[in-house]
Symmetry: D2
Subunit: 139 residues, 4 copies
């Protein structure tokens, strides 16, 4: 299931090339994944309170076409692969006219606040199932 977040490009996110600075898509990814969690009943703030952290292990972004000031981009997010103690998410940023702007991926561990790995399947079966449902087999 691909979850869509709509994000308005802000002026302060552009750079002097007149386009969104490439570092800001990494922030759009964060907005999109927290929105996906929240809309499915697991806000990241509440997960943190429950003692489940999702530190970022890696990110990648491929820049295809620039997003522009004032444009409302759609950021699609889905689970690419769920493992016992980590998850890979994927992202697509689509411009207002439907063009593909950016493709990305982030990997996250599931840890406690001391950054010790949590075996989700065992310790948080509900949350594991929730992520499982968001998994999207690669086409």
């Amino acid at each position: 299931m691909k979850f869509e977040s709509k994000i308005r490009v802000q002026f302060y996110e552009t750079d002097s090339m007149g386009i969104v600075h490439h570092s800001n898509y990494i922030r759009y990814f964060e907005t999109a994944r927290t929105e996906m969690l929240r809309q499915n009943g697991y806000s990241y703030a509440s997960m943190e309170k429950a003692g489940v952290w999702m530190p970022v292990l890696s990110v990648t972004a491929e820049y295809k076409m620039p997003a522009l000031y004032d444009e409302v981009v759609s950021v699609y997010c889905w689970v690419e692969k769920l493992r016992g103690a980590s998850v890979d998410l994927k992202y697509e940023v689509i411009g207002e006219d439907g063009r593909l702007c950016v493709v990305g991926r982030s990997s996250h561990g599931f840890t406690d606040p001391d950054l010790k790995p949590i075996r989700m399947k065992k310790e948080w079966p509900d949350m594991y199932e929730f992520f499982k449902k968001l998994e999207q087999p690669e086409e």
Copy 2:
């Protein structure tokens, strides 16, 4: 005494007008005041460890001329007014060619980690004297 910090304008700090985005000067002020503290033996990190916080109560910035990508600006910082439990700092951002870019001010309380005011003069006389020496009477 005006303390000078040199800051190279980064590409990601510019906006699509081709100049430094106005919000970033507020960050330059922060860099300049922490550098002033550090160079005088009071790094903000060590102050926090000692239990002295300096939360920002207000900021102002007047934009005269834009700073440009790749330029090394000089950010001057000094103490405008020291009070018992708060301090006003002033800033000037000067371009490579000597033009005045931005004038600013920030006010800070002195507090403990619970944000209760600290009477600097009484409780931290050394630090009070240090700030006193940085005070610069308005011309």
Copy 3:
């Protein structure tokens, strides 16, 4: 007339004090004023295309209470004072529980793309009237 924009606090906008970094409210002000313009039929992108720029002349912010991660703050924006070639805007950032977080102000010139002042009342009477309607006499 006070125009309300709702902004979700992002994780990347917090700092290690666990609250929104003070520089980011300056960005919230920008989001709020462009949203106010857009909702009233004058997107800043379209104004720029028409040749009307609104460079920031100054900003101020007073920090009352911190905004927190994941909170949806209301940013109110209105016209404090409209002059022939410039305008003062005011802002209030209100937390989810109704507490006042930040009060701010920004001043803007009306200029052409070469930053020459534009006499709004004469040259763009419609836009002048639009701003006039947003003017809110200080209580």
Copy 4:
């Protein structure tokens, strides 16, 4: 040849986990590669004026250990692979105590201001040779 840039971690770059927000390393990479170019006589500002752009095609970052507020990190940058019209750069961010914080990579095209590819070897042999010298065979 690995080029070293030293970057002081700013307070506004931390997040409420008390560490550098992961998106900011992408900005450190940009600072490091422009510093590498500048120190070797090719400032990015001057390259742009000469009509050579280096748009970012992709970035990756692997997060090993967090960098902390006020720490001076060393960002090493080098050329991993130079091709006719593009280049892959690699990065390592090392903490003050020598720990490896982040490993990254960015790919860039060489283009003219209309984003048409430039055959560096043919059209800018000097710049091609300069990048060739920075190439570092993978160990």
